[in-house]
Amino acid sequence: MHIKPFQEFAKDKIGVAGLVLILFLFTTAILAPVIAPHDPWDYSASAFQPPSREHLLGTNDIGYDIFSELLWALRTSILFGIAVATITCTIGIVLGVSAALIGGMYDMIVMRLADALLAIPTIMVLILIAAYFKPSTTVLIIALSLVLWQTIARGMRAQTLSLKTKLYVKAAKNTGAPTSYIMYKHIMPELFPLYAMGFVTKARIAVFMEAGLSFLGIFDPTTKSLGIMMSYAMRYLDPCFGVWFNWLLPPVVALSLLIISLGLISYAIEEIFDPRLRRNNVTPI
């Protein structure tokens, strides 16, 4: 059955909700330098100011404007997510598709490597790598991508293998079509749903990892990050002090919204593209 993905998506309430949310967060993050009322790297008032018109979420322990920090942190999260998702998916596609097309020993090695990565707790590896190298965001993006590609590669390989046996691919081949043509015309378009799905899933993991790692103190502490904000806010976490409301809660909510929106989108994509999950295909026999 041919699916018109965008129309289907537009019909899916869950997907649309996720998309609206992510667009909102995305726009905010992109416009952070414009919207942010203060320089988040410079103190703008005395410490621990309660929320006011000037400082929407008040100020932190050294007098930085929390709202501005939040916007920049969101920006970091989103950029990190996009970067990791892009690199991971690229690695995954290249390895998965090539494994399926080349086969043999190469296929065996790539797939076993993918299996092997399953047993390694990603976060521990990142912590270790961060400890070896000086915590640089770029290095962490690459390191994370290097350990996250395996599910993408696995899916791409399976799909490519099944496409390879499709008669229309064989027909094109028998007609003399070069591999590049088959890749471009027949295989790549069919892999799109997997790619879309993989991109969103990995972006989601990456956003979580970024927050988590910075919370643990892996990142450069001068970077604006939701995790770092949480971790600092936690230090002043005392019911009497009351900073949890304007300092701790905002990054927690922002992170949750970001991950929720990605989760909703990935759920919607899965429902659209897995024909077996579609509701309306009850076949009358």
């Binding site: 299996d115 979580f208 701790l248 992170l255 759920y267």
Partner: protein
């Protein structure tokens, strides 16, 4: 069958290879001085003698293959290195923390799996109904809230605001409680970290089982069972869910790795003295040998679970390993 076993073995060997690469080779391949790289952040404290001793300790003056041989021998003896920051054997530190993590992760795995399976099965059985829709929306939202956020929130609310639960540790220190009292104390400390971790795992299990069930419900054998007049609950669990949990079983290893990641944050937030908190301390103190040790132990843990699952999978799915 043999092919499958071989694939597994190759994957396990590769896992160990990656582990060795990360622990042994990568620090030695780093540009510049390995010792300085490994102990960066503590350079100022380092004297000439300490440096020389470290070089000798790590055998860095020996050729690479001999270093590797020594490393392997030590590893085989359960020697995971020595933490200079804590002045203790890494293995001892880890063994002290491991039981708490196992308690937390193990219990959480069982609870979330049971809850995820039951909720997923019931939800898919009522697809499109109010129960399903509500639960699905709830789970999708809960799935979006990272364990970090759940942990921080519950810590703030239940420990700091209401003060219902202890905010640190796995038991009350120096209480001297024994028997039932001790167990109660331990459980008391376990409640919040466990609830947080479990809560963060349930949506994943739920969504996996629900999707798998939606596919299984359409299988002809479910119709066969219905035709046989079998009771609804028996069809649901013995016929449909029995098959629907197969994809879940293959992912136990991944779920455990997820859980360990989650535990890292939860333990840090609740200052629960498991591997997670130990890792946090290692990070804060740049205690490299300790980090390496923790990585080794967690990889071996996941590997062992994977092996057990692989061996057991044949029992769960009779089709596996059957030559047609």
């Amino acid at each position: 069958m043999r092919n499958r076993t071989m694939k597994m073995v190759v994957a396990y060997l590769l896992t160990i290879f990656i582990l060795l690469f990360l622990n042994f080779l990568l620090p030695r391949l780093l540009p510049g001085d390995a010792i300085l790289a490994m102990y960066s952040g503590h350079e100022t404290l380092m004297t000439e003698e300490m440096y020389a001793e470290l070089v000798r300790m790590h055998g860095l003056d020996l050729p690479l293959h001999e270093q590797f041989f020594i490393y392997l021998t030590e590893l085989a003896h359960g020697d995971l290195g020595y933490s200079y920051i804590c002045h203790a054997s890494t293995a001892d530190l880890i063994m002290g923390a491991l039981p708490w993590t196992l308690l937390l992760v193990g219990t959480s795995f069982i609870l979330s799996a049971v809850a995820g399976i039951v909720l997923g099965v019931e939800s898919s059985w009522r697809r499109g109904g109010r129960f399903d829709k509500t639960l699905l929306t709830f789970m999708l939202l809960l799935d979006g809230i990272p364990s970090l956020a759940i942990g921080i929130t519950s810590l703030t609310v239940f420990c700091l605001y209401f003060g219902w639960f202890p905010s640190t540790g796995a038991m009350t220190p120096y209480s001297g409680a024994e028997g039932i009292e001790y167990i109660k104390d331990v459980l008391w400390h376990l409640v919040l970290p466990l609830a947080t971790l479990t809560l963060s795992m349930i949506p994943g299990d739920y969504l996996l089982i629900r999707n798998s069930m939606l596919l299984t419900i359409r299988e002809p054998y479910v119709l066969t069972a219905r035709a046989k007049g079998i009771k609804n609950r028996r069809i649901k669990y013995l016929h449909a869910a029995r098959n629907a949990i197969l994809p879940f079983a293959t992912r136990i290893g991944i779920r455990i790795a997820y859980l360990i990641t989650g535990a890292l944050f939860i333990e840090t937030i609740f200052a629960y003295p498991g591997l997670g908190l130990l890792t946090y301390h290692a990070i804060s103190n740049r205690d490299l040998p300790l980090m390496q040790g923790i990585l080794t132990v967690s990889v071996i843990l996941v590997l062992l679970i994977n092996i057990v699952v692989d061996l057991m999978y044949k029992k769960i799915d009779p089709r596996v390993g059957y030559a047609y």
